[in-house]
Symmetry: C2
Amino acid sequence: MSGFRYDLLQQDSSSQARRGRISTQRGEIDTPTFMPVGTQGTVKGMLPEALKEIGAQIVLANTYHLYLRPGQKLIQQLGGLHQFMHWDRPILTDSGGFQVFSLGELRKITEEGAAFQSHLDGSKHLLTPELSVEIQLALGADIVMAFDECIPHPAERGYIVDSTNRSTRWAQRCRKVLPESSESALFGIVQGGMELDLRRQSSEQLREIGFEGYALGGLSVGEETSLMYDMMEYSLPLLPVGRPRYVMGVGTPENLLEGVVRGCDMFDCVMPTRNARNGVLFTSFGKVSIKRAQYRDDEQPLDPDCQCYVCRNYSRAYLRHLYTSKEILASVLNTHHNLYYYQQLMAEIRQALENGNFTEFRKDFYKKRESLVS
Amino acid sequence: MSGFRYDLLQQDSSSQARRGRISTQRGEIDTPTFMPVGTQGTVKGMLPEALKEIGAQIVLANTYHLYLRPGQKLIQQLGGLHQFMHWDRPILTDSGGFQVFSLGELRKITEEGAAFQSHLDGSKHLLTPELSVEIQLALGADIVMAFDECIPHPAERGYIVDSTNRSTRWAQRCRKVLPESSESALFGIVQGGMELDLRRQSSEQLREIGFEGYALGGLSVGEETSLMYDMMEYSLPLLPVGRPRYVMGVGTPENLLEGVVRGCDMFDCVMPTRNARNGVLFTSFGKVSIKRAQYRDDEQPLDPDCQCYVCRNYSRAYLRHLYTSKEILASVLNTHHNLYYYQQLMAEIRQALENGNFTEFRKDFYKKRESLVS
C-alpha cells in the first residue's frame, strides 16, 4: 500500500484524544477530521472550491448511490470520481453496505453478499465484498471501506454474533482483493452491536487481518447517546495506536467532541448538510431554526462569533427570507455555514490538542452553550 | 436626479445598434447590457460573487414579490435591498405591474391602481403608481420603473387605447412622486399594444413628461417574433437618443441580438435562469437539453468554446448526472453557465460595436448556429 500513512503527532495527557495526520497521494488530512458527505458525487449545494475554502481535506462518497447512478464504470471511463466531481483532494467511499441494509424488505443477506432491489428502478443486484471493493476502486477512492453489515439496534445476541462473524469473513475477502500493496487504503469496520465481548472479538479479528485504518460501524443507529459513548470508550482503545480510527455516521457537534475524547480521528455525517437544507443551523450557542418568526427582522449575522462567508455577509433576516421563499441560495448558504461550523470545530479541537488545553476547551464548549441557552 | 447618466459612446453606422454607458452612484453599466433576474432578492442559485465573476453589472428585482415577502419596510429597515442581498452594484426594480396583471381573476384595475389578492395568502392589496414608487424607493432601487399595465396580446383596440392612456397618466403620477432631482432614476414604459400609432402616441406623451430612461413594455407576450421585432424597429427610434432604452422581458440570445440591432440598450429575462433549472443550456451552437441520453458518457465540456467556470471544470456527463439526480449543484452550475453565456454575448456585442464589425458579428452568430445544428 503506497502513499498512505498515519502519523500520531500528539497524545492528549488526560484523555484518549489524539492529534494526528493522514498522508495520501492526494494530500494530507489533519486529524481529528470531519468528512462532508457527497452522496451522489457532490456535497449537496457546495462547490468544490467552497469546500476547500472552509478547510475540508477529504469528502465521503456513497458507493451504493454511485453504483446505481451513473455507474462506477462510467465514472472510471471519465477519469474517476475526483475528475468527475472536480475534487482533487482525498475521497473516502463507504462500502454500500449501510445503504443496502437500510432497504429493509428490498434486500436479502447471504454468505455471498447482499441481494437487493434498486430504490430507483427496482432492478435486482447482488452486492458482494468483492464487487464493493471493485466499485470503490473504479471510483478511484483513496480510502476504501470493507463491506460489512450495519447491525440494527436493538438486535438479538444470536443475530449479532452471526452478523459480526460474517462481516469479519467479508472483511477478509475485501483484504484479499485489495492487498496492502494497493494504491488505495482499506479500512476494516468493527461490528458487534452493543455487546462488549463481540466488539472486542471483532476488533481482534480485524487487527489480525490487518488494515490501514479501522472504523466503528453500527453506532448512531438509534441507541442512547450514553450507550454510544460507552461503546466508543470501550472499543476505540482496542484498535492499533498507529492507525486512524473512524466512527462512522456520527454525528452532532457534541458527539464529535465526545468521540475525540475517546480516541476517534475521523467522522462523517449528513447532519450538517441535511439540517442546513431544513433550515437548522449550528452555532457556538447551539442550534438555530432559521424559519422562526423571531429572526424576521434580525439584522445580526447568524452567529456573531463565526467568521464564515455567510456570517460575514448576510443577516439572519435574509437567511430566513431565503428559507421561507424556498430559494436555492437558502440551501447553499445554510450548507456553507454548517459545514464551516463543523470544520472550524475540528480545527479548534486540533489546536487545543496542540496547545495542550483540550480539557479546558471541552469545558468551555459546553459552558458557552449552557450560558447562552439559559 | 443625481448620479445617473447615459453616455452614447458609439453609434453603429449600418444599424440602430449603440454602444453606451450608464453611470449610477453604485457603478457603471456598459450597454447593451443584460440584467439577470433576482425575483425574490436573489438570482436563483447564484452568489453575488459569482454574478460579479461573470460580469453582471446590474440585476433586476421584483417589486411585487418583495412587497409581499418579506416586505419593503423590513428591507428598508435592514439597510435596503443591496445590503439585504449582499449586492453593491446597481439594481433595477420593476413596478410590480407585470406580476399583478398576470394574476388574472385575482386582480381588478381602476384609475386609482390595481387591486389584487396575494398569490401567497390571498390577502387583499391595492397597488397604485404612488405605492409602486414608494416600494421601489424603500428597496433602494437605482432605477425605478413607472407603474404601467402590460397589455396582453391579442387585445381589442379600444382596450389598448384606454389602457395605454391610463398607463400614461400613471407614469405622470410616478414622475410626480419621484421628480428628476431624486437619487433614483425613473424610467417610463411605452405601451400601445401592437398598434403603431398608439406606440407613437405613448412614446411622445412619455417624452413630454420626461424620464431618465425609456422602456418598451408589452412585448414578448405571445406575439410572433417577427411582430415583436417590427414593434422594436418602429418604437425604439421614437425614443430620445440621449437616454437608455430598455426592452422588458426579452428574451432569447437571438432576441437580444435583434433588439440591439434595432437600438435597444437594456434587456432582462428569466430565460437563462429558468431554463438552467430545467436543464436547458445555451451554447455557441444552440440550445442543449442536458438530460438527453447522448450526454451520459460525454466527457466534453458543455460548450468547448466557453470559458466559464462550469465549462472549464465539468463534463457534460457530470452535468447530466447532477440534473438527473436532482442535485442542487445542477441548478447552481447550469445557472452559472447560462448567465455567463448571456453576459458573454453582450460583451461580444459591445466589442463588435467598438470594433465597428457588428454586422459581421451578427452574420457569424447565425452562421455558427446553422452549421452546427445541421
